[in-house]
Symmetry: C2
């Protein structure tokens, strides 16, 4: 409950890795996978996803890899989590409402308040707060 997914963690590890290098320099999937002991195939998918989101830029071919493209300070954590994992919320009913309790639920409003607090907390931090 209330945990990050591996995918988000792998993404952050990779971004921090890239952040630690010179701006133009390129990091390959293999390099990162070996360095941090991450299964290469799943890291590959994660990086492809970040590339599709224009957060990193892919370089094809030998000596290729990825380098940072977006300003990590401009992406807050709610935005980042949603771009990597989709809609965010303490309960599904805040973005998709096929919950059988929805018509009777007596805690929807208070939970939504807490959810707003959580969102606001994550929104107050940027990806760079993690990768620096």
């Amino acid at each position: 409950m209330l945990k990050l997914t591996r995918k988000v963690e792998y993404a952050l590890i990779a971004l921090r890795h890239m952040q630690g290098k010179e701006l133009e320099s390129v990091s390959s999937t293999k390099e990162i996978a070996v360095r941090y002991n991450i299964p290469i195939e799943i890291l590959a998918k994660t990086l492809q996803h970040l590339a599709k989101e224009n957060i990193i830029e892919p370089i094809n071919g030998p000596h290729g890899g990825y380098r940072l493209k977006a300003q990590l300070g401009d992406i807050n954590l709610v935005e980042f989590f949603e771009r990597v994992e989709g809609p965010l919320g303490l309960s599904d009913c805040f973005y998709d409402s096929n919950c059988v309790q929805i018509d009777y639920c007596n805690i929807r409003t208070p939970i939504q308040r807490i959810n707003a607090n959580m969102m606001s907390m994550f929104r107050s931090m940027s990806v760079q707060d993690v990768t620096n």
Copy 2:
């Protein structure tokens, strides 16, 4: 990702239900299950768990059920989540460390900072903030 479990939601729904009634009055599992459209067996388990945690008090026999026992204002949300679901944290490595990345991880410290923020946010709210 970052969602509450049904068990926690059912527990909160039940507590709010009890909170809305007179102090001495008793609510049965069936009454709550029907009222909020919750599978009765799983709600039963949840209430038994809350009883073991001394948050509610069981009354056996016909016309039995449960009534509030603890002061809900005294239980903060971190404590509540942990009493219902066990250890809490954005990543497992904050309370149990068989993560294969642990020796190489470059984001453990920043994530722990975010985790501390989240904990502090949940600690600043009590169960009563949800059930009132």
